[in-house]
Symmetry: C2
Subunit: 142 residues, 2 copies
DNA sequence: GTCTAATTTATAATGGTTCTAAACTAATGT
DNA sequence: ACATTAGTTTAGAACCATTATAAATTAGAC
């Protein structure tokens, strides 16, 4: 629910030039009611479907990584061959539905606070992430 | 701390033929005091260093995946470009040291039990994994 | 030993990601 | 407005971890 001029400011204050391509990607990613998860592939498909202007794949990679670096996106890794980006940049945990390959945010009340009793000496905790893998109750015999 | 005949039994009862290659890999992975984490690359290097017999890379992949499927290994995904295998197949959590790229097991007393208050309806929880990313306390200004 | 299906192997193919270097463009200054 | 420069985009090549292929080998059964 942001508008173009806000994205321009946001990019400028991040030291990123508000190019046509970046603004388009901002609209697709952040001009929404709800946060969501996407793969680079999802985004590329989205762009070629919804936009009548082409954005090169290299630019899509560049932009997503730039946005991640600036903290506008988080990366969630499920397995080696599935990496999602998350427009929800708050600390939160995930359910991963192994039947549908869907990544679902946990509400704060769904998973209790993780208590870390002993951290590694001399190290700072950067993040604590819980991934709950779920699958259909019945046919669970692959 | 197992011996060859035990590996043969283990493989046979899993429906895997105890081939020379699989037994060598069993020795490298399971004939130890402590469990550990490794990448395919680590294992391949280990094999070519410690063994005077070559095992093809395809076989290494095949074997690791077969062992994972049978539940003798777990896969831990850190980011899209780093996947570790774990000979500790019990439920446990991890610290990941972003300075040294080391994956470290949490003892059960280091992280409290994760409380999942609401699961997704009709789904069964397959695993609950916590990953705590840590880094040096000081120079944390990339 | 013979037979058969499982396994190993070298090598090719795949595919997602990164690199390259040339073309383009946003920003700044005059 | 124009010139200059650094940042950005782009197509395509390169990269590289993983998977597929298909032929050779081997384990287990008879
Ligand atoms: Mn990345
Ligand atoms: Mn895998
Ligand atoms: Zn999320
Ligand atoms: Zn572990």
């Amino acid at each position: 629910m942001q508008k173009n001029s806000e994205f321009i400011d946001k990019l400028r204050t991040s030291g990123l030039r508000p190019t046509r391509q970046r603004l388009k990607i901002c609209e697709l990613l952040f001009n929404r009611d709800k946060t969501f998860h996407f793969t680079i592939n999802d985004l590329a498909r989205n762009i070629s479907e919804k936009l009548n202007e082409k954005i090169s794949l290299a630019t899509i990679y560049n932009t997503v990584h730039a946005f991640k670096k600036k903290g506008y996106l988080k990366e969630i890794t499920i397995n080696s061959d599935k990496s999602y980006f998350d427009t929800n940049i708050t600390n939160h945990h995930h359910f991963y539905d192994e039947d549908t390959n869907q990544l679902i945010d946990c509400n704060n009340n769904e998973i209790g606070k993780v208590k870390i009793k002993n951290n590694i000496t001399g190290k700072k905790i950067n993040s604590v992430e819980v991934l709950v893998r779920v699958a259909s109750d019945i046919q669970n015999q692959n």
